[in-house]
């Protein structure tokens, strides 16, 4: 095993040494404890011994050269296969420093502190004292228990002190206070006929954090569109049996994923992220479509990676796999990361339109409602249409209205006439 032996801090407070003489050469076999080199330091001229048996592979530094503590001296090929610790503890780099006992820390090349002076800082308590109440610890404890900010109470005791009486008197509430107090006291007393308490699960906490974060850091704007998907339904029906043969349950979602990916390729602002810290846009070159999945514990959003490289069937399989994993709580971190755009399908549960919340820091999210039979106009005639409602939320900081409309229109186009997807 190759081992680089650095110029050790030998506890004399050395920072550097000058090489006076090398006792070994490249290729030489050496033993632990054998002197490798003679170094001159600020305090002593001393030999540095090898910590290991082995062969010298490399020597660092020429005679007369200055070597800093911690810099390599030699590289040794040892017989060991295990790394052996050769230092005792992490210490700051030590320079020269006589001590006769102990290891001294030295200031090194750090800049010197500026000169001190006396009395330039005053305590200046006036500002603070103006807003603070004087009170004994007992009074403070009382106020705290009653959940009153003691600094709001006028003090009538000695030195303007807030006394127990002051606090008790303050506690006579006005009407609104009473209601607030009553509500709060209900919450606090935990009367079981009015309330039950449950601690927050990790998932719930995470969802809450993410939702709030998304809403606070983006400018949500939602567009609504309807797509007549009779053609899509026909295609799906056509390939249903072939899909089942391959053990694949074919829903509309894989088509929607495909359509979305194609649209993202044309409108890259929907597949991006705004990096305000560095004043730049980050455009994603991959199409990792996240699919929101409803589980008993809450919403999770696993990712279909590189959806542009997958076929409809492959996407269908990926969706099934991720949903199963989600419901069995077997999703890994890898399954969840690096999504670039999200789809959320609440139609199966029953919604029509919605204002979905963006999966921050993505730029957009497409909500899919339930397909309804509705009268539609085709070639100036009223027919029964199958209408799929779409709700697209975008981050208006990144995506202008024009692009958002064009994006969703393109998806509508693909879903109206799915054969377009194989043309692209």
């Amino acid at each position: 095993m190759r081992y680089i032996f650095n110029f050790p801090d030998i506890g004399e407070g050395l920072e550097e040494g000058i090489i006076l003489e090398w006792y070994v050469t490249k290729g030489q076999t050496i033993k632990a404890g054998q002197a490798l080199v003679n170094m001159e330091t600020d305090k002593v001229v001393t030999d540095i011994p090898s910590p290991k048996n082995g062969m010298i592979i490399e020597i660092f530094g020429n005679i007369g050269e200055t070597i800093h503590v911690g810099s390599p001296l030699v590289e040794i090929e040892t017989e060991e296969s295990v790394v052996v610790k050769t230092e005792i503890a992490e210490k700051e780099v030590l320079e020269e420093g006589a001590a006769v006992m102990g290891t001294m820390e030295l200031s090194g090349n750090n800049a010197a502190l500026p000169s001190s002076d006396e009395g330039s800082l005053k305590i200046r308590p006036e500002a603070a004292l103006a807003t603070k109440a004087l009170a004994t610890p007992l009074a403070r404890a009382m106020a705290r228990e009653l959940k009153i900010d003691i600094n709001n109470i006028a003090g009538t005791g000695p030195s303007g002190r807030v006394t127990k009486e002051d606090i008790q008197n303050y506690n006579i509430p006005s009407q609104s206070n009473k209601i607030v107090e009553r509500n709060e006291s209900i919450l606090q007393e935990g009367l079981t006929d009015l309330t039950t308490f449950e601690p927050l699960s990790q998932i719930r906490k995470a969802i809450a954090k993410n939702m709030l974060n998304s809403k606070q850091n983006t400018a949500h704007m939602t567009l609504f569109e309807e797509v007549e998907i009779s053609e899509l339904m026909r295609i799906r029906e056509k390939f249903k049996q072939k899909s089942t043969d391959r053990d694949i349950k074919l829903t509309y979602l894989p088509f929607i994923v495909k359509a979305t990916v194609q649209a993202l390729k044309q409108y890259r602002s929907l597949n991006s992220q705004m990096d305000l810290e560095h004043d730049r846009m980050i455009y994603k070159n991959r199409y990792n479509i996240a699919i929101a999945v409803d589980t008993p514990e809450g919403l999770v959003v696993p990712v279909i990676r590189d959806a542009d490289k997958l076929s409809i069937w492959q996407i269908a399989l990926a969706i099934k796999e991720l949903s199963d994993k989600a419901r069995n709580r077997k999703l890994t971190l890898d399954d969840m990361k690096e999504g670039t755009f999200t789809l959320t399908n609440y139609g199966s549960i029953g919604g029509i339109f919605a204002t979905p919340v963006i999966n921050y820091p993505q730029a957009g999210i497409l909500g899919i409602g339930r397909i309804i039979k509705k009268p539609v106009i085709k070639e100036d005639m009223i027919i029964v249409g199958n209408v799929l409602p779409l709700s697209l939320s975008v981050d208006h900081r990144i995506v202008d209205g024009g692009d958002a409309s064009r994006f969703i229109n393109l998806i509508v186009e693909y879903l109206s006439d799915p054969v377009l997807l194989i043309m692209e």
Partner: protein, 362 residues
């Protein structure tokens, strides 16, 4: 008897072999068989090797500040040879060879100098006190143990060590004074290695030597060539017999030289010359004993190979020391009292709360 012949007031020094390993005092030459002499030499060699390796480990950044013993091995091994299982060793901090002789392991020494008090919890060695950092204070402890031995009528002797610098501390004088009054079975050995960090012994006291200080307290004192194994052995043996016979304490001044620095963080070039070091090198205890052994032709082992074996064995112990259970929070509190008071328990609990906060927060 030798205490009278080598009267410290006359500044006499007990020496048995010279720098070339030749016997210069046949009369006092001890009755030791060759095997024992060779074993003693090997122990000195082991101690010297361990010392050099310790300095090397410190230089590699694997151990903290360490006080080398180099040059003082004869004192340690000679006294160590005489110490029995139940005799006491009350060290200062430069008695590696004696501690090893008493059964302290290099592993324990390494654990200590790696910054863990666990190293002073000697698993095998009996009646050895931990090294004593407050200079000279250990002599009073030795005196107390001596009193206890007399009181309990035990057959035990105390060997305690101090440096030339330590003899200036009040505790040194107080300890010897009490030793005289109480007639304790204690051998007080001054390792006069010529330096207290940077201060030479000439500036430590204007007394003609250190052994003579015994006279003030009514104790026998003797100055010995500390780098002469045989002389040290003889002095310690007579002192041991003296103590064991109920005759009381003895002060031995062992002349030696601190070949290395005070600690690995000390630079002797700041206060002594290479010439001086080279002069004293001529009296090196290992060289002299080796010369004696060679002159007698009683040993033909491969010394190089022996040292190699020692190095491997010591390195193994060092590795074990590096791999002991790491220092726990419990260790900080556990040993303060026999029965831990509540306040300490509370402090430990509060710190644990901080630790959990830190894990989540930082």
């Amino acid at each position: 008897m030798i205490f009278k012949t080598f009267n410290p007031l006359e500044d006499k020094t007990l020496r048995i072999i010279d720098n070339d390993g030749k016997i210069i005092n046949k009369e006092l030459f001890p009755d030791l068989d060759n095997e024992t002499v060779i074993k003693a030499y090997k122990s000195m060699l082991y101690a010297r090797t361990a010392d050099e390796m310790a300095i090397s480990y410190q230089r590699q950044g694997r151990m903290y500040t360490y006080p080398p013993n180099m040059g003082q091995e004869a004192i340690h091994i000679a006294s160590g040879l005489i110490m029995r299982e139940n005799d006491w060793l009350v060290p200062a901090f430069r008695e590696l060879g004696a501690m090893l002789a008493k059964g302290v392991s290099m592993k324990e020494i390494f654990i200590y100098y790696m910054g863990n008090e666990q190293g002073s919890n000697f698993k095998q060695a009996n009646h050895v006190l931990p090294i004593c950092v407050p200079i000279g204070s250990q002599f009073l402890h030795a005196t107390g143990i001596g009193y206890s031995i007399n009181y309990q009528k035990k057959d035990e002797v105390v060997f305690s060590f101090i440096g030339d610098g330590g003899t200036s501390e009040g505790d040194f004088s107080e300890a010897l004074n009490f030793a005289g009054v109480w007639k304790v079975p204690v051998i007080y050995i001054i390792q006069n290695n010529q330096y207290a960090i940077s201060v030479p012994v000439q500036n430590q006291t204007k007394s003609i030597n250190l052994a003579v200080k015994a006279v003030a307290f009514g104790l026998p004192g003797i100055k010995v060539d500390g780098n002469d194994f045989f002389a040290m052995y003889v002095a310690c043996k007579e002192a041991f017999e003296h103590a064991r016979a109920g005759e009381g304490a003895v002060l031995i001044e062992a002349l030696t030289y601190r070949k290395g620095a005070h600690t690995t963080s000390d630079d002797p070039t700041k206060y002594r010359t290479k010439e001086e070091e080279q002069e004293w090198d001529k009296t090196d205890p290992l060289i002299r004993m080796k010369r004696y052994i060679d002159n007698e032709g009683i040993w033909n082992e491969d010394e190089e190979k022996l040292i190699e074996n020692y190095k491997q064995e010591i390195d193994k112990q060092f590795t074990e020391a590096e791999n002991i259970t790491p220092y726990q929070l419990e260790d900080v509190f556990e040993y303060m009292y026999d029965e831990m008071p509540d306040i300490l328990r509370k402090q430990k609990a509060e710190y644990k709360q901080f630790q959990s906060w830190k894990e989540k927060r930082i």
